[in-house]
């Protein structure tokens, strides 16, 4: 048993149309589809990466942003290790709504210590020329709300997407007690703990 595995649940939240699915697809498949459908229900993709010599599986959850779907979206917040609050730099309303998304997440994810929970903020669509939200405004918000890391991303031309997710992973690992995620797998209770891999591999 050399490799240790761990599973991190990361959730993308933000207004409809800010590019949550595109960010996820860019990161996991390194593709951008300008004709992607808007998300109905919830979806997730997995990506395995290596962090400090450990295998980490990122489970990235993507949800429908419209208010109407709240009741069927919020149950999936449970168990998240990191939340990516997403807005679009060409849509001021989506930026103003960040606080609501944060509140909704903290409430429904049942976060024990909200002030210590790792949020990462993404300002997407920086490839668009007509910005409505400036970098300074966004940085200010992040600073005032809990000193969150801020990334200006473009799912379209792959700007900063991987960096943002890597930051999310580091924050998530740092926030929780490391041991919680990287327990030697043979001590894991098989019946109750889906977070860690079982040790059946020879």
């Amino acid at each position: 048993m050399t490799a240790r595995k761990s599973l991190l649940k990361v959730i993308l939240l933000g207004d409809g149309g800010v590019g949550k699915s595109s960010i996820m697809n860019r990161y996991v498949t390194n593709k951008f589809d300008a004709h992607l459908f808007h998300t109905i229900g919830v979806e997730f993709l997995n990506k395995t990466l290596e962090v400090d010599g450990n295998q980490v599986t990122l489970q990235i959850w993507d949800t429908a942003g419209q208010e109407r779907f709240r009741s069927l979206r919020t149950p999936f917040y449970r168990g998240s290790d990191c939340c990516l609050l997403t807005f679009s730099v060409d849509d001021n309303q989506s930026f103003l709504n960040l606080s609501n998304w944060k509140k909704e997440f903290i409430y429904y994810a049942d976060v024990k210590e909200p002030e210590n929970f790792p949020f990462v903020v993404l300002g997407n669509k920086v490839d668009v020329t007509e910005r409505q939200v400036s970098t300074e405004e966004a940085q200010m918000w992040c600073q005032e709300n809990g000193d969150y890391p801020y990334f200006e991303t473009s799912a379209k031309d792959a700007t900063n997407v991987a960096v943002a997710f890597e930051e999310a992973v580091h924050r998530a690992l740092a926030a929780d007690d490391k041991a919680d995620h990287l327990i030697p797998t043979d001590t894991v209770k098989l019946h109750r703990k889906p977070r860690s891999a079982t040790s059946c591999c020879s």
Binding site: L7, T48, P75, R78, L190, H191, R192, P194, T198, C200
Partner: protein, 655 residues
């Protein structure tokens, strides 16, 4: 007369680890088998049947995996084939067991009152059957997996420990709790004392009412269903959780929590499936073999015109609907035929009448369109709801079927039409406005109509059917999920139990299917076919739910073989998108319909979901009860069933 048997719980992959002093020469001997809770002749029995006498211990490596974890994604190929091998042997066993069932489970060792361990037959050496009223306690232990030790009141007999290498101990205990109160032993927290039925259940109910624990009472009040007799299982669960304390809760894994929360969002699941008050008991009904169904050619323009009289009325609407149900429409006919199917044109209208109808509807449409077109920027600034609808419509129009030639590229007029119709619909129904998913429902209609006004009114008709899905409380979605779950439970109890054991019994993963009627699951041309078939309203009400069952039927093997958990089931179903074959699905769905239709002893809940209660009754001489009259071919196999009293158990019968 056949013995009556109800299967309440069923799980494979339960192991015994006989020690040498139990007569096994081999230290490493493992017995794999299936555990069931059954109700037989008003008795609740726990029974274990081994798969075979021993199992290669190397299989255990995989058997130890947590079924609901997500870690299998990284599994090596070797492990996978191993686990598949294990599952295959179990499946063949399952088949055999089903066969036993078909002959009414005529096993000597299950005679009434029998509870001693059966060592008589070599193959069933490790089999046992025990009445739960003879159980004294259950000890729950963990050893990397959970194992249970069942102690009998009669201390002279003992039962080997049951090892749940593949999970399921919790489900087993939950199922037991429907019939017995399990309370933690004060001296030993790993030990659950078993007290027997009825009395215990009513006691637990009283306990609940006495309980001052806010959480419990709160939860209780929020769920009025719990107050009915049938949900004692739920009540005892609450009690149990309260007794177990917070320790257990902290260990709860996220998918379980997610599932619990979803269960609150979609309430009433369990209760709905009850036929009679009293215990919630799952019934196994043999539906007989599923008939092979063939599909027909699409209705051609020639064929369609033959159904019109000289003035344009459609003659023999019923036959035409039947034809469309069986074959769909050729594409050229859709523009006209859909208007009838959707109720925009009455079938009995003449060409002249339709012309004047269309004229009136055109005026009405543009009057509503002008309403939003004429809103000034100032007005819009003060109307946040309209602004939100508008902004979301603009975003979604740009993300709907953009690879379809009708909507592709920049500045495609199709996009403008899609946008304008959705905006006008907001004016038509401002309370609902625009909800994500509606653009998916409009897109195929507009594609077929190629006309703004016709597309709008056809969309209005379709939305009349789908409206509840999009309302604030999403009642339509909840109802459909419950109905689907009810149907699936009847059709495939083993699969339903599996999903339930993976916290997926409320079928959340079918959400997208139901919200927008498979629009995202099928390629565009197949969506057109499916929708026109559904709009015939044949062969029964809620046929789309049988379409769901047909798809699930095709996926069940994969899901169960791979032992998918909550997350993987969701992922697997999401990823079926664009891989489904519509004609196969329609064949299977119709086959399922015929299968259910010919079932003589349908629970009322099923007939009411499928509208058998209200549908035109097929003339028949049998059955004078309130149940729907069944077609005569229900007896075609020569096994006409005797009429049992309504409250009796529905047993398993031969097909």
């Amino acid at each position: 007369m056949a013995e009556l048997l109800k299967v309440i719980f069923e799980r494979e992959g339960i192991f015994l680890h006989p020690s040498p002093d139990e007569g096994s020469p081999d230290q490493d001997l493992l017995v794999s088998g299936s555990l069931r809770i059954i109700e037989k002749d008003a008795e609740i029995l726990v029974e274990y049947r081994p798969l075979e006498d021993s199992v290669d211990p190397s299989n255990m490596l995989c058997a130890g995996q947590d079924s609901s974890s997500v870690v299998e994604w990284g599994q090596s190929a070797g492990e996978k084939s191993q686990s598949r091998q294990l599952l295959e042997t179990q499946q063949s066993y399952e088949t055999e067991w089903d066969m036993v069932n078909a002959v009414s489970f005529k096993k000597k060792n299950y005679t009434n009152g029998e509870r001693s361990l059966n060592h008589s037959h070599e193959r069933s050496r490790w089999a046992f059957s025990v009445n739960i009223s003879d159980l004294k306690s259950i000890t729950v232990k963990e050893e990397g997996w959970t194992f249970l030790i069942l102690q009998l009141k009669d201390s002279s007999s003992s039962i080997p420990a049951l090892h749940f290498h593949q999970g399921g101990s919790r489900e087993f205990l939950d199922s037991l709790r429907r019939f017995a109160l399990l309370t933690e032993c004060p001296e030993d927290e790993t030990r659950l004392l078993v007290s027997t039925p009825s009395k215990a259940l009513s006691q637990s109910f009283e306990n609940l009412l006495d309980d001052n624990n806010f959480g419990l009472v709160h939860k209780f009040k929020r769920d009025p269903y719990v107050t009915t007799l049938g949900s004692f299982s739920k009540v005892t669960n609450y009690i149990y959780d309260a007794l177990r304390g917070t320790e257990e809760q902290q260990q709860q894994r996220p998918p379980e929590e997610v599932a619990d929360l979803l269960g609150e969002v979609i309430p009433g699941l369990e209760i709905n499936q009850q036929e009679e008050p009293g215990f919630e008991v799952i019934t196994r009904i043999d539906l007989g073999t599923r008939p092979q169904v063939s599909r027909a050619e699409p209705v051609s323009a020639d064929e369609w015109s033959k159904h019109q009289d000289p003035e344009g009325r459609i003659e023999n609407e019923a036959a035409l609907r039947q034809r469309i149900f069986k074959g769909g429409l050729c594409h050229a006919m859709r523009r006209e035929a859909w208007k009838f199917l959707l109720g925009y044109y009455p079938w009995t209208s003449t060409l002249e009448e339709r012309k004047s109808l269309q004229k009136a509807k055109t005026d009405e449409y543009f009057r509503m369109k002008l309403q939003w077109k004429s809103i000034s920027e100032e007005q819009e600034r003060r109307n946040s709801r309209l602004r939100d609808y508008k902004s979301l419509i603009e975003k979604d129009v740009n993300r709907t079927d953009r690879t379809n030639r009708f909507y592709e590229g920049l500045n495609n007029p199709g996009l403008t039409l899609l946008h304008d119709i959705l905006m006008t619909y907001c004016m038509y129904d401002f309370d609902l406005g625009y909800v994500q998913g509606m653009s998916d429902l409009l897109s195929p209609i507009l594609f077929v109509m190629e006309n703004e006004v016709d597309a709008f009114w056809c969309f209005v008709s379709f939305m009349d059917q789908m409206h509840q899905n999009f309302e604030e409380q999403m009642q339509g979605m909840k109802t459909q999920l419950i109905q689907l779950s009810t149907l699936l439970r009847l059709l495939d109890l083993a699969f339903w139990n599996y999903l339930e054991s993976q916290e997926s019994g409320y079928l959340y993963f079918c959400f997208r299917w139901l919200l927008i009627r498979f629009k995202r699951e099928l390629i565009f041309s197949d969506v057109l076919r499916l929708w026109e078939v559904m709009w015939t309203e044949l062969p029964c009400q809620n046929f789309h739910l049988l379409v769901c069952c047909a798809i699930l039927d095709s996926e069940k093997q994969k899901i169960m073989e791979e032992n998918y958990g909550f997350n993987e089931i969701l992922k697997h179903i999401n990823e079926l998108s664009m891989k489904l074959n519509i004609e196969e699905i329609l064949q299977k769905a119709e086959g399922i319909y015929l299968q259910i239709r010919s079932c003589k002893d349908l629970p009322h809940s099923i007939s009411s979901i499928l509208g058998f209660d209200t549908q035109h009754r097929v003339s028949s001489q049998v059955d004078s009860g309130s149940r729907p009259v069944q077609q005569q071919d229900a007896c075609s196999n020569g096994h006409c069933r005797d009429n049992r009293p309504q409250n009796s158990c529905r047993g398993v019968f031969t097909s």
